[in-house]
């Protein structure tokens, strides 16, 4: 048998809370905010008032992709480019290709325990908010 570190709802909700609190200082767009575990399964989600159906799915998929690939989406895009891979080569229809706003959630030892995804603002703003979310927890 072996032990694994599991992200819990208290961490996931703290990440979402921090992003929601910071959002008005960064964008006036309504955001979708998602946190998934190391399998890409949803742990916490919030759709701010007026947020879109598209944003809801996009945020979850960004978090999912970052978690499953154990990579921030920015680095995933760079890796795909370096390896000349198409997104369909990964065989996972839930992946997003080259968006930003999806970050892997790592413990202090560097173990990926999940992913955070933000959608609704610009790519840079989405990523900035995801970073703010990660800073809210100490893992």
């Amino acid at each position: 048998m072996y032990e694994k570190t599991i992200l819990d709802h208290t961490d996931a909700l703290a990440i979402v809370d921090a992003m929601m609190a910071a959002a008005p200082g960064i964008t006036n767009q309504p955001l979708a905010l998602a946190v998934v575990d190391d399998r890409g399964e949803l742990l916490a989600f919030a759709l701010m008032d007026g947020g879109t159906h598209f944003g809801r799915h996009y945020a979850v998929r960004k978090a999912y992709t970052a978690s499953r690939m154990r990579l921030d989406l920015r680095d995933f895009a760079a890796q795909r480019g370096a390896q000349s891979r198409n997104i369909s080569d990964y065989g996972d229809s839930g992946f997003v290709a080259s968006a930003r706003g999806g970050l892997a959630i790592r413990t202090s030892q560097g173990i990926v325990v999940g992913g955070v995804g933000v959608s609704g603002a610009t790519p840079d703003q989405d990523e900035e908010l995801a970073n703010i979310g990660l800073q809210a927890v100490s893992l």
Partner: protein
């Protein structure tokens, strides 16, 4: 053209946090919960890390979805299927419908407009419904404040 009230994140998050806080009082029995709007779209969700994916995450959604779309507390869903001559919940042909208690309708304070549904899954249906009721009370309190 028309306008209508939509369920917002403030009240949805209040419900989810109240449910998770209550569930945290009994460790080791993880749950998932979600609040959907009247179209069955997710507004807020939280799940404990150790919850069973196939059961709780999906069933929390299905309970909330059934309540929001069919305007029924899910405990009464099976009886409605019989009363409508449909026979069983499965006969509606919607794979997201369920008959397990733990899904509650969220009505507008006027009592006339459907606003969405709350779903809880992970424990017995009765316990899930008790948690959902705590969430509904928190949601209504958030509206009132």
């Amino acid at each position: 053209m028309h306008s209508r009230a939509y369920l917002g994140i403030k009240e949805a998050m209040a419900a989810v946090k109240a449910i998770m806080a209550e569930a945290d009082r009994v460790p080791g029995r993880p749950i998932a919960t979600t609040v959907l709007d009247h179209r069955g779209d997710m507004v807020c969700f939280a799940s404990m890390g150790e919850v069973n994916t196939a059961l709780a995450r999906q069933n929390a959604f299905k309970k909330a979805y059934t309540a929001a779309c069919m305007r029924v507390n899910v405990r009464d869903m099976a009886a409605r299927a019989v009363a409508q001559g449909i026979g069983s919940v499965a006969n509606y042909g919607n794979p997201n419908f369920t008959g397990g208690a733990g899904g509650l309708v969220v009505m507008h304070p006027s009592g006339e407009t459907i606003m969405g549904g709350i779903g809880v899954s992970g424990r017995s249906n009765e316990e899930d419904e008790e948690l959902a009721l705590i969430g509904l009370a928190a949601l209504q309190q958030a509206w009132a404040s």
